[in-house]
Symmetry: C2
Subunit: 376 residues, 2 copies
């Protein structure tokens, strides 16, 4: 994997870059649609390529390990072959899901024992087997196995958890070094900065993570319920410590305005379920603000969500029709809202990159954020 920094904003820490993987090139900053169990919910791979214009998607280790399982993924030749997505894939390590979804999870130095949320079966995740699982999934970017503490966490707990995450990281690095890619393409580890909302812990964690010299770095444990200002403060602090010549990935963030603010702090990569999950609940993000398409006020609005969009879902269906699909519980509503939101996120981040390259990012961002937040 190679990361080339193309341009840095003079008035902020925003950067434009190019990340090259064996499955293709990613222009940063980038938003990565979430395909938890090997499918971005309600969207075909053709739509992801042609309409959303996704450059990289996510998979999730916890979910893919449970279903379809390693035997199937291994026989398929990895997730790219299994789901037909030939561009880059990043897999989350499953740490977050083990803590948020699985039952009776027990954290030990060795790893985490947990019960599947699907059938209650018992499993053990360790830094070593999570690396092995991600080798089998075949992701281009592999996330370290970490503990993501809840918000709020007590200082003592956050510190202990962070230290465990660091020890687990060293075991991840060791294991990856002892194993080789299974499908011929390079797989790159991103370690994860933790430390909750404590500045000194975030400083320690970012310093530790940076010292490992990995090809890219991630910031975890944010957007888990803390005030937005805390998120920005932690992100700024961490970005100042993480090396400038490596991509920085802020996990699980967020709204369009969260993304623009964090780009200004030096983040290059984002993922979030918001465009798809909120889309399935009828929330549409647009260049003019946020639409609740279930609202009665759209019942006879026959204009499209975005007439200038290159995406059919945004341009070729009216708000009135979308509202009808949601009112009638039609699957097509979920699909169109998901595609619209994802296409918008990609358009937004593509425009952000253009503004960085033009040297106009900060002014543009400050003008856009109140507009994006408007409730229409």
């Amino acid at each position: 994997m190679n990361f080339e920094l193309i341009s840095t904003d003079s008035a902020s820490s925003a950067r434009a870059g190019v990340l090259t993987t064996d499955h293709g090139v990613i222009n940063t900053p980038i938003f990565m649609p979430v395909g938890t169990v090997g499918s971005v919910k309600a969207v075909t791979q053709e739509q992801l390529r042609q309409d959303v214009k996704a450059q990289i998607i996510l998979g999730n280790t916890y979910h893919l390990y449970l279903r379809p399982g390693l035997e199937v993924l291994s026989a398929a030749g990895g997730l790219h072959k299994f789901n037909g997505w030939e561009k880059p894939i990043l897999t989350d390590s499953g740490g977050y899901q083990v803590f948020s979804l699985a039952a009776n999870r027990k954290i030990k130095e060795e790893g985490v024992v947990f019960q599947s949320h699907i059938d209650g079966s018992r499993h053990l995740f360790t830094p070593e087997n999570v690396m092995d699982i991600q080798r089998t999934i075949g992701a281009d970017i592999i996330m370290a196995f970490d503990e993501c503490p809840p918000y709020p966490s007590e200082y003592r707990y956050a510190k202990k958890s962070m230290e465990l995450t660091h020890r687990w990281l060293d075991r991840c690095i060791k294991r990856l070094g002892e194993t080789t890619p299974r499908y011929g393409h390079e797989q790159t580890l991103f370690p994860i900065v933790q430390g909750s909302t404590f500045k000194d812990l975030r400083t320690i964690s970012a310093t530790e993570i940076a010292a490992r010299g990995c090809a890219g770095n991630a910031i975890g444990g944010l957007s888990v319920g803390e005030p937005e200002q805390d998120m920005y403060e932690m992100c700024a602090l961490v970005c100042n410590i993480l090396p400038a010549d490596k991509p920085r990935y802020l996990m699980g963030v967020g709204t369009p305005w969260n993304i623009l603010e964090n780009i200004a702090l030096g983040v290059d990569m984002f993922d979030c379920v918001m465009p798809t999950r909120n889309g399935r609940n009828g929330m549409l993000f647009t260049w003019n603000g946020v639409i609740n398409i279930k609202n009665k006020k759209w019942a006879t609005d026959f204009t499209p969500v975005d007439e200038h969009s290159p995406c059919f879902a945004s341009r070729d269906y009216s708000k009135a029709y979308l509202r009808h699909l949601f009112a009638a519980g039609e699957y097509l509503g979920l699909t169109l809202a998901s595609i619209h939101n994802l296409a918008f996120y990609l358009e937004l981040i593509t425009e952000a990159r253009a503004q960085i390259l033009a040297g106009t990012y900060t002014a543009w961002k400050n003008k856009m954020i109140p507009v994006l937040k408007t409730r229409l």
Copy 2:
């Protein structure tokens, strides 16, 4: 509307024709995907055009009247404008839905009083207002308001019901003659033959319907639970009476083999929820037989459902991936199965037409039916 008969099979009553409407040309025999509330479930209009290659779709008067309602449809300029489907649309009259879905329905000479299955609100459908509603929806082909008796029905009930349907038909014809299309394009009425599984009633009904001299005719009240042989017998009897120079539409039928058999009896048009509804339950129809994609046996079958298909959903995803999507409850499974099945139905009927034109239909049909029925 114009119907031109191009070719008739020498060994059966199968016909190939061209039906021309103001929204475009339909090659018959044809299968019409069902878009009950203005959306073919889980399929975009783009996919219907490009991948399914649908030439005409259905809407349903009962459902569209309740949601989005006439005010919205009228303001939109009709269903074509509302849902963005620019090719022909046929609307079922809602008679079947009133009897199968609505609560406390009461049939009188005037029409049917019923309660909405959505909110219990009370409504009255008469032959007159059902014509008016279909004028407002703007369908190219409008179905007469009929009563579809259940199977089995007693002879007395079936006769009484059929006679009511005939009286209602005359009121439909009168009302349509007194009103004009609202959106500039022609709207053509198809009356419906009823008579349950009683030969003499079907003979009477087909004779009565034929005598009205409408531009096309439909056969209703079949595929409602009767044995397949009864369906074929009734269909053959009715097709022999309905004029040969008008298109014949068999409502709500059916499996791929039902369609091929009924084409041989002289049917030109079909609709059925089976490809979409059964698709959403994991049943895939293919050139080699029927697949239950939920079956464990497909878990590591990495071949596509149909590698020779021009349709991406059939060709670009493996059975193993589809099985995984169904096992994990992913929306994408519903979409891919629906598109595959619809594309297959359209490919099948397109091939049937080619065989009719080549003079080889009957031999081809007899060879295909056992293959299509095979459980894979």
